[in-house]
Amino acid sequence: MAGLVSSRGCHKIRGSQIRELLDSKLNVLFDCDGVIWNGETVVAGAPEVVTLLKQQGKKVFFITNNCTRPRASYVTKFIRLGFTDVAEEEIFSSAYCSAAYLRDVAKLQGKVYVIGCQGVVKELREAGVPIVEEDTDAPTGTIYDYPLDPDVKAVLVGYDEKFDFIKLAKACCYLQNTECLFLATDPDPWHPLRGGRITPGSGSLTAAVETASSRKATVIGKPSCFMFECIASQFNLDPGQSLMVGDRLETDILFGANCGLDTMLTLTGVSTLEEAHGYKDSDDPERKDFVPDYVVETIADFIEAYEEEEG
């Protein structure tokens, strides 16, 4: 593997270096926001990259902390943005993985109290995980009197535009029982939209529930490894033969480091090359895991890597 250096080296690569790296990997995991699209705008060349990798015999997966859509809705978005060959089974969102965790790992006996949008609720229903059914458009009590369901054995917190104080109070009550599980879909404090706009993320709602209950949530999404374990259990992936491509150092790159994958930062999203170098130059050993092995301007650079070989 002449010319390739990894170990958190933050090496900007293109052309044959990208080709060499990809030839050594069987599996490529892409984050979505900031990597293959930004909001409703596709990153130019991304659909061609996916097709190309599959033609080369690679397995391609999409791994996103964004829990606002169920997988079927992601498939529709992929098609809408010009991707022709992405299957539902290749998409792993934090909502899907949270449902899978509750069903397959926790093997939950009982109901889940969900603080989450329809994207989260639908994945739980699809997985057959019983949830507390509430009419979210009607008031569910006052702070002096809110009904509780005796069958709740887990609380799951995710992005919820209908989050309110009563939900916080109920979650806190359920979590007084130490046997009640406490899960969060993802830790992201804010959620990026296109044009640099942001809205509050699941992480800010989880922080409120953690403070109220004096308990720490088990976080399913990146940078924790659960989502990789979820994919690996279905597709038998070897981390040594897998590459994680993301745009957020504290989420995607740290995730890759935690799971033993090589990591690549793409510059079409949140984090900058300066930030990556900042972590590399830091004296704090914990910051080393935020440093990517490789950096590209955009994943569209993969196309040129293969064209060069052929040209």
Partner: protein, 290 residues
């Protein structure tokens, strides 16, 4: 001990009442303290009532108290914004009607109080219209707290010049009737996390509350006694300000907690050890009557 103090600062919840029930004997203690020439001040981190509302509640329970004796967090926060932040412009307020009233009383205008329903899609939320006169986001207890309010706060705080002030960091709020719900600390944590910054906080253990009382009444800290039920916020405040501290066991902290701090040898925890403790404030009665 009582002869060596002129002024007594009393925490409310867990010391003289629980919810809407007075701790037995406490009205007599307070009234006797006043009769014996002591100044008595009622101090609380709770921001859901104005000074007048607290004075009314105290009167109903048999305490001899006026508005001026009360230093609730709504009032103290308004004073903090006026005197310490030297606030210019408006406030985006996540808080109660009482907060709004106390702010208006000192001439600070706010926007945001009350229910705030959500509609539309994510881009609409990121693009909510912002009042250009808002220079500070203030967070207190708000039973109407919602994602939309959190979102508005975040959009204001995207401007690095916009300040973030929290009334207090308590994680529990006791209600009338004895139940407790999540406190202001939880709401503040959500805002701090979304905006990725720390708020300035007004309430205990920050000593602004004490400074507020002391400056209005010209108190000598060496002749002040704080009577409280929490070690980590209240006793620490007392130690930091050089006051004598008395812990009552009718609230949050226990003797075991105090002993643990004492034995820890940790400099940060030594400040949480009270000078004295009693089972209940009623134990002061014999000394006052005698």
């Amino acid at each position: 001990m009582l002869d060596s103090v002129d002024n007594v600062l009393i925490d409310c919840d867990g010391v003289i009442w629980r919810g809407d029930q007075a701790i037995p004997g406490s009205p007599d203690v307070i009234n006797l303290l006043k009769k014996n020439g002591k100044k008595v001040f009622f101090v609380t981190n709770n921001s859901t009532k104005t000074r007048k509302m607290y004075a009314d509640k105290l009167a109903l329970m048999g305490f001899n108290a006026t508005d001026d004796d009360v230093f609730g967090m709504a009032y103290c926060s308004a004073m903090y914004l006026k005197k310490v932040s030297k606030l210019q412009g408006k406030v985006y307020l996540i808080g109660s009607n009482a907060m709004r009233q106390e702010l208006e009383k000192v001439g600070i205008q706010q926007t945001g109080v009350g229910p705030d329903p959500i509609s539309g899609v994510q881009m609409d939320w990121a693009n909510v219209p912002l009042d250009p006169e808002v220079k500070t986001v203030v967070v207190g207890f708000d039973e109407h707290f919602s994602y939309m309010k959190l979102n508005r706060a975040l959009q204001y705080l995207n401007n690095p010049d916009c300040l973030l002030v929290g009334t207090n960091t308590d994680t529990r709020l006791p209600l009338e009737g004895g139940k407790a719900v999540p406190g202001t600390g939880c709401i503040l944590k959500a805002v701090e996390t979304a905006a990725q910054r720390q708020a300035q906080t007004v309430g205990k253990p920050n000593h602004f509350t004490y400074d507020c009382v002391a400056s209005q009444f010209g108190l000598d800290s060496a002749r002040c006694l704080m009577v409280v039920d929490r070690l980590d916020t209240d006793i620490l405040l007392g130690s930091n300000c050089g006051l004598k501290t008395l812990l009552t066991l009718t609230g949050v902290s226990t003797v075991a907690d105090a002993e643990a701090h004492q034995e820890s040898g940790c400099p940060e925890r030594v400040g949480m050890v009270p000078d004295y403790y009693v089972e209940s404030i009623a134990e002061l009665l014999p000394a006052l009557q005698g």
